[in-house]
């Protein structure tokens, strides 16, 4: 420490602490209004209202059956692949209705990518895995460059750059999941959805994925579903807690209980159900 008296540096402190932007300065990517999802007439999720902000990591936590996976799949039309699935309410993506009559699911999925719980690399070479998205979407200019950049952003390039032609199935579990992330990044999405991305991985691989999320949020908006609430606590800026309500006939429906900045959820949650869940008293 020097002998000169430094000035009071509140600004430096604020900047270094990476405070979240104030609510008025946040960019809304998704605006969810009264959303509900039902499978063959049975409601799985209802009355969800929240906003997803740009360059934030937003986590959905809650006990099993609370509809968080169902919810995240609404953002990229993946529920459409399940017969009997119906969406009620609206999701606006940058102001446009995501489920408008003219919306093409392919266009949606180009901008909103997804990483799944169990790594699902295609049974092809590492290169072909990452190149698949650009190829089917017609982004074939500078394919080599795209593949390299995607693998770099997924923190996998150094480990595979000498064996791009090797089968993707020869990678370890953690590497496979990073490959799936690279695959997703190669089509240059705006949003990355992650459905329990680390639950099939060992702790070291999990930490690497979490560090990756931290790095990626500078350029992407990330939404992650996790059943491990400590993981949500570590990586997420905003956390949404879902719980299960029992309706008549004992039917279980998911509902959104609380949605707030992560430190608040884990230090002073507003709802007692949230408190019970994060303290592990029920779940």
């Amino acid at each position: 420490m020097s002998d000169t008296i430094p000035g009071v540096s509140m600004d430096r402190l604020v900047a270094r602490q990476q405070q979240l932007p104030e609510p008025s300065q946040r960019d809304v990517v998704f605006d969810v209004d009264d959303l509900g999802v039902s499978y063959s007439g049975k409601p799985a999720l209802k009355d969800v209202n929240l906003e997803i902000y740009r360059n934030f990591v937003t986590a959905f936590i809650g006990p099993s059956g609370c509809g968080k996976s169902t919810f995240i799949r609404c953002f990229n039309h993946m529920n459409a692949l399940i017969p009997g699935a119906k969406i009620h309410g609206t999701i606006h993506y940058h102001g446009a209705d995501l489920y408008g009559s003219e919306v093409d699911p392919v266009e949606v999925r180009k901008r909103i990518g997804m990483v799944f719980q169990k790594p699902n690399p295609f049974p092809k070479s590492i290169y072909d895995n990452v190149a698949f998205g650009p190829r089917v979407l017609g982004m074939t200019d500078d394919l080599d460059g795209r593949v390299e950049r995607a693998l770099e952003h997924a923190a996998l390039w150094d480990e595979v750059k000498d064996r791009l032609k090797a089968s993707a199935l020869s990678l370890s579990g953690g590497q496979q999941q990073r490959l799936c992330i690279a695959r997703c990044l190669a089509v240059e999405p705006e949003v990355i959805l992650m459905d329990e991305p680390a639950s099939a991985l060992d702790p070291i691989a999990t930490t690497r994925i979490e560090d990756l999320m931290h790095a990626l949020k500078k350029d992407y908006t990330i939404v992650v579903v996790t059943h491990n609430m400590q993981q949500a606590a570590r990586v997420a800026d905003m956390t949404a807690f879902f719980s299960v309500e029992r309706g008549e006939e004992g039917h279980r429906t998911g509902v959104l209980v609380e949605y707030d900045a992560t430190p608040k959820i884990f230090t002073q949650p507003s709802d007692s159900r949230t408190e019970d869940y994060v303290t592990g008293r029920f779940g």
Partner: protein, 289 residues
């Protein structure tokens, strides 16, 4: 705890285990013995006449110079046509049933049941079908093409079932991953599902093919002549190796019986090669999902 307490109290299951094992060995023995006997008798009998004459010369009344060339060529043509017809139709049907069909609709369920049943229909029924509709009905005549079309029908259910199994074996996670990247349904099928299912489809098709090449009854009905001394063409008269063998067996001379055995050796060689090829493909491309 001493060693004595760990020893088995009574050899309770021992006897039944031993009996069961003996039964298994006997079963294998019967199978191997039968097959072995068949092979050895045929080879011993027919080996004499397995030479280039057999392969390159047309049949004749003189067993010394008789060959099976037209029959071998016809069998090869039949095989190629069979693949050309049955694989696209079979795989296409399998794709429809696995990827597009809505199982709740009655016609799809009907289709499902139909195909299972058709696989069990005796091949001679197809022969009659061919005679009625192809040879006579549309006037195709008793030609190689008709034979190929009939054999296609014979093997089609098997190809469809094999292709469906191969397509079903592709995990859904692969499809989901491809959809999530923005692929259309067709792109998912063409670029992910089919390439991944290809080894299974290939294996199934080759096995179906090797069954078809041994068929005699439908070919006879559709007009395979028993004596053909010229090289076959697609729209001409034809015979096939099984038919040729049948014809030789029917002849009185002992030499022709030997020739028949030689023909069987050739046919077996073709079938075994095809089957070995199918097994090789299956092993080479075996996937651990």
């Amino acid at each position: 705890m001493s060693v004595t307490t760990l020893r088995a109290e009574r050899p309770r299951g021992r006897t039944s285990s031993a009996v069961f094992k003996a039964f298994l060995y006997v079963s294998i023995g019967v199978g191997i013995a039968t097959l072995g006997t068949l092979l050895i008798t045929v080879v011993a009998k027919g080996w004499k006449y397995v030479d280039l004459v057999l392969l390159l010369e047309p049949p004749s009344a003189d067993p010394q110079i008789a060959g099976a060339r037209p029959a071998i060529l016809a069998t090869i043509y039949l095989g190629l046509l069979l693949i050309a017809f049955s694989v696209p139709i079979g795989v296409g049907t399998a794709i429809y049933m696995e990827e597009y069909a809505n199982r709740d609709r009655w016609y799809n369920r009907l289709l499902e049941v139909n195909i299972q049943n058709l696989a069990a229909v005796p091949s001679i029924v197809y022969g009659i079908l061919g005679l009625a509709f192809l040879v006579r009905g549309i006037g195709l005549g008793r030609v190689l093409l008709a034979g190929a079309m009939i054999l296609t029908l014979v093997v089609l259910p098997t190809v469809i079932i094999a292709a469906r199994e191969a397509i079903r074996a592709v995990p859904d996670s692969i499809r989901q991953g491809a959809y999530a990247l923005g692929a259309t349904k067709w792109q998912v099928i063409w670029r992910q599902v089919l390439p991944a299912a290809t080894p299974g489809i290939a294996t199934g098709s080759i096995l179906a093919l090797s069954r078809a090449l041994g068929e005699t009854a439908p070919l006879l009905l559709v007009g395979a002549l028993t004596y053909v001394s010229f090289d076959p063409t697609i729209l001409g008269d034809f015979t096939a190796l099984p038919v040729q063998i049948y014809q030789w067996v029917a002849r009185p001379q002992e030499d022709f019986r030997v020739l028949a055995a030689s023909g069987i050796i050739v046919l077996l060689a073709i079938l075994l090669t095809l089957n070995a090829f199918a097994i090789w493909i299956r092993n080479r491309y075996q996937r651990k999902w």
